[in-house]
Symmetry: none
Subunit: 215 residues, 4 copies
DNA sequence: AATGAATGAGGTTTCATTCAT
DNA sequence: TATGAATGAAACCTCATTCAT
């Protein structure tokens, strides 16, 4: 899986690049619809308007397109917006902004996120990738929590590592339930607001910060 | 999927029942190792020490053993422990007890839970079952939250439905991260304690209740 | 195929003979319904109210029951009634009687005859049996024709062997078309009458004999 | 069954069409040798000099090649020669010509005819096709007989429908006995002559017509 | 490169036959 | 003998991958 870069050299012909793009787009469509396992290369090629065999002019196999699709996803998803760690505004506002950015992206790419969830359970190679990414995110959170605790702005009895995982889990899994499983029709603002409030409450970030967040 | 009872009549002979059990056990092993999609009936039969064709004396196909395995899982998992709704002790203690029960079961059946997660992404039929189960759990939580809000014991500004999903997500996903993905080696007690504390904080359950919980 | 006698020794137990009979009856039913090729031993056993494996206490396999079924058929079918060769009455009356006997039997055992037809195309061994039987019948006819020709009672230019085959074919195939394929709803008497007339006409059996036949 | 046209799209490449033809030829061979039921796709592919899986590039399954084979047969067989109904020569000559055409074709395609007979007993779909064809033929005969009766040239006491079936049966079944079962080594001319004579006799077509036929 | 047929490993399923109880 | 599970040889079909044009 994990090779992000193109697998079969750089395309020489003008239309080759276009066909490669079509295949990636088609693969994404098919993956989202059928899941990685059941997706057939035939279908991908057909969806791209190409002959079956042409697929292999561009990719070595299913794993290989998957890599390309993931690369594309990365481009789309990884504009994390205002990082939590970014200074310059108050904590609650930053949390809210991060949640908003995350949830809006999740909603936009819901079917992709579903695919990612599936891949993580099916493909070990991909699971590892995702773990790395999550770990980075969680570590950032853990650092934030430690900082807040040190400054007396967060419940000092919370284990910062576990808390970081738990909070991330809460947000990401609620997004999954809402946008992928279609849990209930929820207004996005209400969702952001509630999750932010839960997050802030959970850490016991003091009144001062919260009030400012509401402003 | 998901019919608990035997699929091809009840076995008449004593050793037949034994072989059926072996097949279920083997299937579970193989499912846990290879995932539902990649599991091969051949491997299941072999793992059960039976000939390939014997599988079909007991099950109609992969879906069918899956049902049997799920039935077994249900038997193992569905000892729900102290329900949140059960009265008679203070709220925080009840939350902690529920968390403990849930996490201990999760740890014991970690590989099964991994399987369930995978099945939910791969098998629509099973996804629906899981949704039903989760919904029941979440609804119970939502009711609890509403009660607490009514009595002035929980942050009144939280949307109870979203909160219920978020809290459930937090606990279950953290369990998954810890026991399935092996996030970090975490002490169970510390995990329970942190999750309980986060939960209580998040709802802003008042000091009185919390202090009792610590006792 | 062609072993008519019991294949696995003489039954010792009282109920054994009964079960054997049940199997033969069941086999016949299943053969008639599904055809020889698609008939499954499981179904035969089940139809006989016996366990699958019990079949093999009585027969070596499908071929073996087939033999038994055919034996039974023989008992039912081979009462050819007034043979053509039997003297003592006029020729036309004898032909009509033979036709009547044949067609009535055919009608009664239509589904069996269908089975026989099928077996003849599918099973070489059985084809040979049927050929032998038909040959006997045809030879008798050929002799009759020769006799009639010698006495000046039949068209002398007909090849007696070919004619014998052709006439037999005409009768048996018309019976098949009528009773098996359900060609048209035809009154039995009209059928007998027409076939007899065609037969007599074809041989050019003289007026004298024919008039007597109508009486 | 029995769709004449290609089943999986028209082949685009020249050699593909060639392989398809090879498969049809091979299937025909194998069907003729082993019968439809026992024919194995593996054998067909092998006989065509192709890999097992290639079969499925061209046909969806056994039924599907069968259709192609039947289409081919149709092309070969359905040059019915001089129709009985065609005017312009005397009746007996026309009957003889029809018999000659039919029997010569039958002899040329004996193994195919055997296959057709078998298919009719095994495959309901094909049985229906054959019935349709035969019905057309028989109806034509019935009309001829009625015409002859009306003009006083045929035994008026014969039921024309039954007679049509009986006569057709006589010819086709005798052909089967001779060429498929190899009843006896018979000279073709003698066979034609005898069948024609029987046919004419059976209907009692008057001397005038017959004499001309002999000329 | 593009095409689409050819390949063949891999999996599923069926069912006659064997065999321990 | 009766039973019904166990066995394993066939057969079918799918689909990723190769390859000639």
């Amino acid at each position: 899986v994990a090779t992000t870069d193109a697998s079969i050299g750089v395309p020489r012909r003008a239309d080759a690049a276009r066909n490669r793009d079509r295949l990636v787009a088609a693969a994404r469509e098919v993956f989202e619809r059928d899941g990685y396992v059941r997706a057939r290369i035939t279908d991908i090629s057909a969806a791209a308007g190409l002959a079956h065999g042409s697929f292999f002019s561009h990719f070595r196999g299913k794993d290989d397109v998957l890599a390309a699709v993931l690369g594309q996803i990365e481009d789309e998803m990884l504009h994390p917006g205002p990082s939590l760690a970014s200074p310059g505004s108050n904590v609650v506002a930053r949390i809210e902004a991060a949640n908003r950015a995350y949830l809006e992206a999740y909603q936009r790419h819901a079917s992709l996120m579903a695919l990612l969830e599936q891949l993580a359970t099916v493909d070990d190679a991909f699971l590892r990738i995702r773990l790395e990414r999550t770990r980075a995110f969680v570590d950032r959170n853990a650092r934030l929590i430690r900082d807040l605790q040190r400054d007396g702005h967060a419940d000092p009895e919370l284990d910062p590592d576990i808390t970081a995982v738990a909070i991330s889990s809460m947000v990401s899994r609620t997004a999954y339930a809402t946008f992928v499983l279609g849990w209930k029709s929820v207004e996005l603002d209400r969702l952001i607001d509630t999750l932010t409030r839960l997050w802030v409450n959970a850490l016991r970030i003091p009144r001062a910060a919260r009030r400012r967040a509401n402003t």
